[in-house]
């Protein structure tokens, strides 16, 4: 029986129409997520990781002139072509999403209990009373103290950490198979972040859920993910298991990123490694390899022809012409 992944994204391309013309924020992205697996989507601002996650559930304003092409399969159903009704059946029920800023992601004028019960009544057709009980159950599951009182609180009465727990409760109340978490802990303090990441991993085991985690923090990736996709300017530049990525990264951008982060232990060098220049704007995408202008190994071939995603080992792909010369035994990186 051939193995069918929980979620499969094929050649996803998302284009926006802006004041300065068409912009392709996500340009031919493909990846898979399995049940029980945590896949990290990592990259800096503007690399398209958030847009990729939003494209899965088509969460763009109706009139923002967004165009989505490619295919997204979830439990044998192609999402991009399915009708809005079918998609709404899946949103919050089979695939749930939690967002970065707990302060503004909950509706300020309704109690947290009301906002959780709303999903239960919609997807599981529970009565008001049954939904209320299940809501309190969920609040306990996500570790909120005295849930029976908290259920009638308004969002502004809760701290950032508590609100993120409410978001998780809201997302998981219908036992979804896939959780998309867009920078869930970026706005939280490091001690609260640790609590939330532990909570997400526990719930993943209990619900045998797949998690797509979007983040810019390589520490969180190392801590939580099984597989990692590194994105740069709308494209995946490297895909690997988390061990391989940190031990034997092959793409110059991944290596540059890892070396430019200060760490909590290890040698305190004088100068941090720096990736020269700045990320080009999506309106002026460089010809050839998109990282060429900032890459120390870039040559004429890189500047002219965009490289494909080469499979260099099982589950390890890299988008670079010179990947054999890089990494362990290869060209040592400066800095």
């Amino acid at each position: 029986m051939i193995h069918v992944p929980l979620l499969e994204v094929k050649n996803l391309r998302t284009t926006f129409s802006t004041e300065l013309g068409q912009v392709t924020a996500v340009d031919g992205v493909s990846f898979q997520v399995d049940s029980g697996e945590t896949v990290g989507l990592v990259g800096e601002s503007g690399c398209g990781k958030s847009v990729t996650s939003l494209s899965i559930l088509r969460l763009f304003r109706k009139h923002s002139g967004t165009r989505l092409t490619g295919e997204i399969f979830f439990e044998q159903k192609e999402l991009l072509q399915s009708s809005m009704e079918e998609l709404q059946e899946i949103r919050g029920n089979r695939i749930s999403m939690i967002f970065q800023d707990p302060m503004s992601s909950l509706n300020p004028v309704y109690t947290v209990g009301n906002q959780i019960a709303e999903s239960l009544m919609l997807h599981q057709k529970l009565s008001k009373k049954a939904a209320q009980e299940k809501t309190i159950e969920m609040l306990t599951l996500v570790g909120i103290p005295s849930p029976d009182k908290r259920v009638n609180d308004y969002p502004h009465q809760l701290s950032g950490g508590m609100r993120q727990r409410v978001m998780i409760a809201m997302g998981l109340c219908c036992q979804p198979k896939l959780l998309i978490a867009d920078e869930p802990t970026t706005a939280l303090d490091v001690t609260i972040q640790a609590q939330i990441l532990d909570l997400m991993l526990d719930l993943q085991k209990q619900l045998q859920m797949g998690i797509l985690l979007i983040t810019h923090d390589l520490g969180v990736v190392a801590e939580v993910c099984d597989r990692v996709l590194v994105m740069y300017l709308g494209q995946i530049v490297e895909e690997a298991s988390v061990e391989t990525l940190f031990e034997n990264p092959k793409h110059p951008y991944t290596i540059g990123l890892m070396k430019s982060i200060p760490t909590i232990d290890g040698k305190r060098g004088k100068k941090l490694h720096v990736i020269e220049g700045i990320v080009p704007s999506l309106h002026q995408i460089p010809k050839g390899c998109r990282f060429a202008p900032r890459c120390p190994l870039a040559d004429e071939k890189c500047r002219q022809h965009p490289p494909d995603l080469f499979e260099i080992a099982r589950l390890h792909q890299v988008r670079c012409w010179h990947h054999e010369r890089i990494g362990v035994g290869g060209v040592a990186f400066g800095g």
Binding site: R61, I90, R91, P108, H156, M167
Partner: protein, 316 residues
Amino acid sequence: MGGYLLKRVVSLLPVLLVVAVVDFIIIHLTPGDPASVILGAQATEEELAKLREQLGLNLPIYIRFFEWIGGLLQGDLGWSIFMDKPVTEAIWEHLGPTLSLTIMAEIIAILFAIPLGVMAANRRGTWMDQTFMTFALLGISLPSFWIGLNLILLFAVQLNWLPAAGYQPISNGLLNHFKYLIMPAISLGIMQGALIARMTRSSMLEVLNENYIRTAEAKGLKMWLVTYKHALRNAFIPILTVIGLSFATLIGGAVVTETVFNIPGIGKLIVNSVLRRDYEVIQGTVLMIAAAYVLINLIVDLLYAYIDPRVRYDKS
């Protein structure tokens, strides 16, 4: 909740004081001698003296102010020289028509403005939104008295369906009352409605861009539920503010509309008092209207607390 209410009421007192002072000052700006202005040139000296004494003009201004305020607190708004009756009585007689006119106009305005505004925001960028924007823009550009005149020209003169002017109190039958008030209410309601509709649309657009709306969509809620449950309630707070603030333009519009349609309301009373130099009446009615405005905005403030829990629980 009580604390909030008390705080709001207490904060109104200085505003009411300012209203009284402004109202008092305006009338006493009259250059020259108000008595001769009122009685006209041929009045005899002794008549002028009696009037001055009656108006208390010979007293220093701050004494007259405190006397006036004293009177106010006991509900005495002064005396109408022209109608020879207390101002409060004059106001009471003219209150009925203005009340029903403004209420009808406001209902028309809100009934059209809010649904249209919400729909336009929901379909931003489509032709429906464009036509809405154009009509709303026209609405705030047409002076209400000109609309009134054209309505009369069409319905009263040409088609003769409705009376050109005049007023029938409710006591003479509801339908009759409506017949006389429908055109004035429409001409007054259009500008008011356009103002509120534009505000509804921009407030809805603002809210539809918020993160919690995306969360609602991500939960799989149907579009109408996202719009009418999650978005509208948040958008309603600025809309309420506009409705409260636009009460002043509503009354202003009523003054003009009553003149066009010859409705014996407060507006007509004020305009006639101006032409007749009946100062005490102008002073009293303008004060009443301003006080009503302050009261309406207090009610709007209290509605905030009902809609937005953050206002109710502003602990820290």
